[in-house]
Amino acid sequence: MTELKAQEAQVKAEPDRRPVRRNGLTHGRGLVGVVLIGVIVLLGVLAPLLAPFSPQEQIEGANLLGPSGTHPFGTDEVNRDVFSRVLYGIRIDLFICLIAVPAGALLGGLIGLVASQTGIADVFAQRAFDVVLAFPPIILGIGIAAITGTGVLPVVCVVIGAELPLFGRLVRTATLKVRELPYVDAAESMGASRAWVLRKHIVPNILDSVIVQLALSASGAVFILSAMNFLGIGVKPPEPSLGGVLADAMAQLGSNTMYAVGPLLVIVVLVLGFQLIAQGLLAARRGGAS
């Protein structure tokens, strides 16, 4: 039994059960992403404490002021403090992400799982995804907003609509891939039922890809929802949203530059942060696999 001794040294003593999520987020890019998102989330959560004004308070005489000590980003066209509006805008954006992305993931994932199990459902789901994917999300957004009117609802719908096929396809292909693996074959050969294989092998093993996609989707969702708010088909005024504040700022570029720069920076940091988290997780998963 020479080999037992020989290999013993290479084997780690402590089992490390959640390496991907942990390793992905504690180093390098993933860590930067977590910090960026953390800061923004904190700004959003603490907005009531941090914001010097109410986001809807119209301050008398403060029409389109430039940046100053009292108004770090200046004031807007109806005399509100842009800084406070940006802080509160983070909340609504994150809130939509928090609702829509998991919803899209769950729905898409379920459809993907069902599709991977039966041939007819698969063909149907694939074509349906094709059709949905053929419409750019922004056009979808304009269309849905025309039906439902502006508001949070169409934004949530569009984000879900955009994410759903992504998760559906991801889960489907990942499931089909995992199903071909010998350990699933082994389980089936020993008489395990479909449900057993799905629950015990497939779902746990595709979870990592789903989590990476969650981070990517969050980034994409911030894009879509701020674009819709930017186009004026999202959150209704006077509720502040990042895209909405940016859109309002577009008309005032000449008067107050910071008005646009504030929301712009936050959006960039958000999408970038989620993107970095996704990259970190992905790198960790690849590292873990090799």
Partner: protein
Amino acid sequence: MSTALSRRTLLSGAAGGAVLLGLTGCASAVDQETSGTPKKGGTFAGAIGTDLVPANFYTNSNDGVTTIIGLVYESLILYPNDSLKPQARLAESWTISDDGLTVTLKLRQGVKFHTGRAFTSEDVKFSLESYADPKWNGQLKSTAAAIAAVDTADPNTAVLTLKHPLGNILDLLEIVPIVDKETFAGIGDGSRYVGTGPFKFEKWTPNARLQFTKNAEYRVPDRPYLDAVDIAVIPDATAQANQIRSGQIDYAYGISNLDIERLEKAGDITKIQRTGAEIQVYVAANLTVDGLEDVRVRQAIAYALDRDRILSEVFRGAGYTASLPWPKTSPAYDEELNNFYKKDVAKAKSLLADYGKKVPTLKYSYQTPSPLFQATAQIVQANLKEIGIDVELDPLDPPTFVAQLIGGKFPGLWTAYHSWAQYTPSTLTVSAYPFNALKNSSHYESDTYIKDADAAWKQIKGDSPEAIESYRKLSKDLLDGAFLLEIAIIEGRWAVTDRVKGISYTKRSELLLTDAQLTG
């Protein structure tokens, strides 16, 4: 190619276009008018914010249409900007019979359409009939429909027989452009516009530009001075501002008042404030909505509005606050009545106290995308909060907004512009949908209002003392009913560069370039 872009091409291109910046603005401070001889020739380059919608030809509702009508067409008579005293245009003279049922128009002779065909009384008949067709949705179509017949026996005289006296018949003659029957179909699809005006329609490129050339056969000798007019469609206000600043365009219809202020201060442009072509911004209420059925609530709202702030911050002072629709140029204008509602929170609150109940949260609709309505709505929302009324904003896209306006289906309050108060006052109450006494968007029903509106409409002479008295009654009705609360009367602004002289406009904001010249 894009990447191989050399520094030189970039710079030369810049000199040709974008980076001229303030150069033209600085160089053209010479006052051309003193030099005597007008400068001829040149292409007038301008920009408008909304493109032509051919089906809206008679509705006066967008920049494309008003530009075409102003340049290509002429009406029978013309009001000066500051009054309702008709001037000759295609009609040399006109008489209204004492019973008010016959209007005789002597037409100008020797006028030719751009096709070369002579203008006759047949064209008057055709133009008025077209205007009355409901599918064209002309604002005064009820007035036009009240014309029983047009006698065209003499090609140089048109005799209109009316079903009943029409106090605003001259408004109609001022508004209706005289169109060419033979090419009329071209108007519907935007392919051909033939009129008798100073410029010929050349070409429309949807979403991009309108092009016109000089009509060398124009009835006024030596006019127009310009060789051609080229109007670009630039929906983005900032882009328009940048283009006029860099001298790429000389005229901009769609820059925000704020940008106009800024550019004017920098010496890049001058503004043309269209007094006489006023529009009104208002808040109106749907009386079938819970809470708004009570006049005290509506009056409370009227007292809560901070009209001064909206005028100065949103519209940058382009106009004056108002309680009634009539502009200062209107015979119905009455300063005292116009100042009836002033911001008075205490009074508003006491009215609400009289009402006794809590006003439920009101929906407040406005049309998107419009930064001005959005800002107005948000200020109004803050104003109403002050007196304890909660309001939820309800931005709607244009078709939905219009559908609700026409159907009277707004779920609460709404804000929009209206127009037509710069004409004979009765024109407003019989035509503008929000005001229509018989059936309006507010579902306001009042026998007195119906009676007074009808009486005003049927005045034979629109500016007689009796007429003025009838307008006063109408004004009282409006203030008492408080279903439509005026905020301000807005005089729209155009931005032009200093090298442009002689631009004018009609009461419908149609662009007139008959006397315009490009100096410098």
